[in-house]
């Protein structure tokens, strides 16, 4: 089992190390993921219904009110 885990680890490790265009790509990917999941998600994209209401009943009451006003 340990041998298999080691093998899989080195498979990925060597793969990443030997990438030719990898370094610049990885920098872009990491910056992008940081912007998406940290900046956008934390500061701008709260789940409106989950943030403002505690129960599903409250959420459905609110949506029905919005849909029928």
């Amino acid at each position: 089992m340990t041998k298999l885990i080691k093998k899989v680890f080195y498979f990925y490790y060597d793969g990443f190390r030997n990438m030719t265009v990898g370094k610049r790509l990885w920098v872009i990917v990491l910056i992008k993921l940081f912007i998406i999941f940290v900046i956008f998600k934390l500061f701008f994209f709260h789940d409106f219904l989950k943030t403002n209401f505690k129960t599903d009943q409250q959420r459905s009451d609110y949506v029905i009110e919005q849909l029928t006003k």
Binding site: F11, G15, F44, V63, I64
Partner: protein, 513 residues
Amino acid sequence: MEHFNMALVDWSRAQFALTALYHWLFVPLTLGTSFILAIMETIYVKTGKEIWKRITKFWMTLFAINFAIGVATGIILEFEFGTNWSNYSWFVGDIFGAPLAIEGIMAFFMESTFFAVMFFGWNKVSKGFHLTSTWLVAIGSNLSALWILVANAWMQNPVGMHFNPETARNEMVDFWAILFSPTAVNKFLHTISSAYVLSAIFVLGVSAWFLLKKRNEALAKRSMIVAGTFGLIMSIFMVTTGDESARQIFNVQPMKFASMEGLYHGESNAALTAVGFFTKVPKPEDPDANDWGPKIKIPGMLSYLATLDPKAYVPGINDMINGNKAHNIISYYDRIKMGKLAIAALKEFQLAKKAKNDSKAAAALKTFEANYKYFGYGYYDDPHKLIPDVPLTFYSFHIMVGLGTLFIFIFLFAVIYGVKGKLTQKRWLLYVALWAIPFAYLAQEAGWMVAEFGRQPWVVQDYMPTLSAVSNIDQTSVIITFFLFAVVFTVLLIAEVKIMLNQIKQLKDGGQQ
């Protein structure tokens, strides 16, 4: 309608459109190139010729760049559902959630396993296992797209659900009806085949550049034959699926169909406008024939496209607004009345339930269910507000169809001259193939615009318009994120193009002719 913040609705729409359009710049190349890679690697494994390994690895690098830059850009759309479109997210319930969850799980497993073998596994796993992984990446990424497209198709043609008036959610009652609805099947097949065409054009165009520069000719010629053949087959398939999609749209979204053709007055033996221009935006209540510039029309073709009968009646925009008894078309005026009844009945049902007045609740529910089919129309007073942007839909549709037709000829010539070994002599074809790359992206975006602008104002056809789908949030935050997205996506796109161009330019000559 007056209590809706239309500026917020418009900014939310603009933000979603911007995100989706940018996201769709990355996706189709992944979907199609994955299959082209699988075909190239299959040739390598079958023939054992090293040149095919080199070819596969080169395109795999470009595939990896596109994948790495594009990955997770779609997740922003899901953020937007929860934040900007919370009424919609609640309303669609598990119908939208289930396919997206399947897509997420599938994408995660595919990307963490077979992608790694495909990129890192050269000389580390057997040829057969590597090839299998490449094919599984292709099949997996396309299956992943299936679920998104099924969810989108449900919005265009909602089936297999039941609306629960107590929770205001649509509940899935028939998963298979949703998965195999004709709209879903056609949308999936047409979208992926168009993605294959874009990828084939991409491979063809880059290869043409090599031939124009007299570099990597062995790689370029072989790539052009593979891409040309793949593209030719897929573009014919795309036309077939597009043809079937048009009939589906005619049946379930006749307003979109009429807008695609700019057809205001319905007619029998309706002609298809092959080429045409609006001289000014026509007013639906007073369409004037002079609003059109010169047109090239194909008699009977629109009727045939819609029904397979060249003499059939195709309703125009005014038939839907004013109704047409002879053709059983209920007017939008009547639909609005029924929609208003449904909205009022839902409100009454809720009040009666809270007051524990069962008989009143039952009566309200009966009225609601009788009119629910036109629920979304009830948010409007003026039926003309239910017409999509006709010129935008018309031009998008004609750009998509025109370019799709042009690509068939490019592929055909590439195959003919590729097989004859005359590609380098046909420099005009090489230039056309190279310049076709941006037009392939334009065709993709135009296709998205036909599907999405053409169905406005609906987020869920007939049930929920965009104005009732948005969250009541601060408009400023939507405006800020709109511009943030514009900047981030533009930077990503520039990075992708620059890295790809570097890779293409840096590819050293090698391999036999």
